[in-house]
Symmetry: C2
């Protein structure tokens, strides 16, 4: 009679220890999201976005990549960029990408399940977060607003490489914008009394006002432009190097942030908060 | 009787004009490879490799990504990184990536054909170039030599994202090394009289000596380290920023060039030259 509860107790201790050991192994994904860790992550994501902008700007516009009439791929109806993004997402889904709540697919319809053992990603968000995916808006913005600013006109035939660099940049921008879910959660936990009345009143405008810090947004925009200038410069051993030679126009990076990344992140935050008490 | 040849003549003129127009549209891929254009391209490829190194260094080692026993993906035998690279290459092959002679797949076996209309990439290389693919060596170097230098130990569960960043970096390094085919061709065209006797004698050592410029190699290594320092720094709006904070160790970039990229590029050049008169 006495041994049975002891076995259960040992099993519980073992399970907890095992979970702790696994959690300790995951420094990058962050066990705990805090205001400081979220801020640090957002700053690091700026670099990834800027490298992505520079790498996409390496190719000309390559309009065939986006023309549904050009690609006649058997069994697929759509443009080359849709073909590459949809199919690469399927592969990455099987490899477990979308088990991490920080990731959101562009083609969530018929996405195959993960085929790898599950990893204990921290479950930090309210379950309502899973229903927020604004990638359709990001896709449209990317193709119709950002690309015309970023890519010079021309055609070098490297459509697959262009689509692959589109995918990397789209994923980086999407991750940054949907990170609004984590931003909103840390802000909510920090001062629930400020948010709860507005959430109950479904006051989108009030929430948007509470989430807006114009001076912070301006600082982000300026930092992004500075990073784009530093990372986009031509570096040579010659100390008299021509600093005017650039791989892309740094103002495109700050415009991306000002016009789309910052407003869309706030849109995600509002959507998240409206689900927060559900 | 007279009209038939005229129609043929007009068709020929039209075909030539059409080809010229297409060729004029392709500034990025380069209509003509010259010593200057090849050098410029090699310098730009350094930036892509450094962004790739920084992006891979964002993740810890994530050893499950490389463990054939971890991934139990139905219908696939191998590690997660093999799964992601092989399947993404298949998608990009269908989208036409490997029609460009600058690209070489890691898994050329059973690669699906391109499903897109063919593009007139300049046929600059001797046909023997197609049989040179040293990606098996690059793959081994990457996994066993470079990754241990680049990634800190740890596991954050982002195996799919890790494999995707491995693929981008592997493709950039592979493109740079196989660009040796173009380097060798421009050098050969510049001074065939220097190369022909050594090629006929199958004198690998002599060819290697002719291709080696120690001071140029040292300058490349130094420029790459400088770029890695500039692109890998943490940029903030604060003018008193801590320049010691870095996203990765810049000496890893110069070691990559010194130990592997430069020697393997020369290996590709020698292999190419040995086929050049065939």
């Amino acid at each position: 009679m006495h041994r049975f509860p002891l076995v259960i107790l040992l099993l519980i201790i073992c399970a907890v220890k095992c979970r702790m050991a696994k959690a300790e192994q995951s420094p990058g994904s962050g066990n705990v999201y805090t205001l400081a860790s979220v801020r640090e992550d957002l700053i690091r994501q700026e670099d990834t976005i800027i490298y992505g902008l520079i790498e996409r700007a390496k190719f000309p516009s390559n309009s065939h990549t986006y023309d549904a009439k050009y690609a006649q791929i058997p069994g697929f109806c759509g443009s080359l960029v849709e073909f590459v993004v949809k199919n690469t997402e399927d592969i990455q889904a099987k490899a477990g990408r979308y088990k991490n709540p920080e990731e959101n697919p562009f083609f969530p319809e018929n996405l195959p399940p993960s085929s790898v053992p599950s990893y204990p990603f921290p479950q930090f968000l309210h379950p309502g977060a899973a229903s927020i995916n604004i990638n359709k808006s990001i896709w449209k913005m990317y193709l119709h607003e950002l690309l015309p600013l970023l890519a010079t006109s021309g055609d070098d035939g490297n459509y697959a490489q262009t689509a692959a660099s589109d995918l990397s940049l789209l994923q980086a921008v999407s991750k940054r914008i949907h990170y609004g879910k984590f931003v909103a959660e840390v802000k909510f936990r920090d001062a629930p009394e400020d948010y709860e009345p507005l959430i109950r009143a479904k006051d989108r405008e009030g929430l948007m006002k509470l989430l807006t810090f114009t001076s912070v947004e301006e600082a982000v925009r300026m930092r992004v432009e500075k990073k784009a200038t530093v990372f986009g410069q031509e570096v040579s051993l010659d100390s008299n190097e021509d600093n005017e030679k650039r791989k892309f126009d740094p103002s495109v990076a700050s415009r991306l942030y000002k016009n789309w990344v910052i407003p869309l992140t706030k849109e995600v935050q509002v959507e998240y908060l409206l689900r927060r008490l559900g």
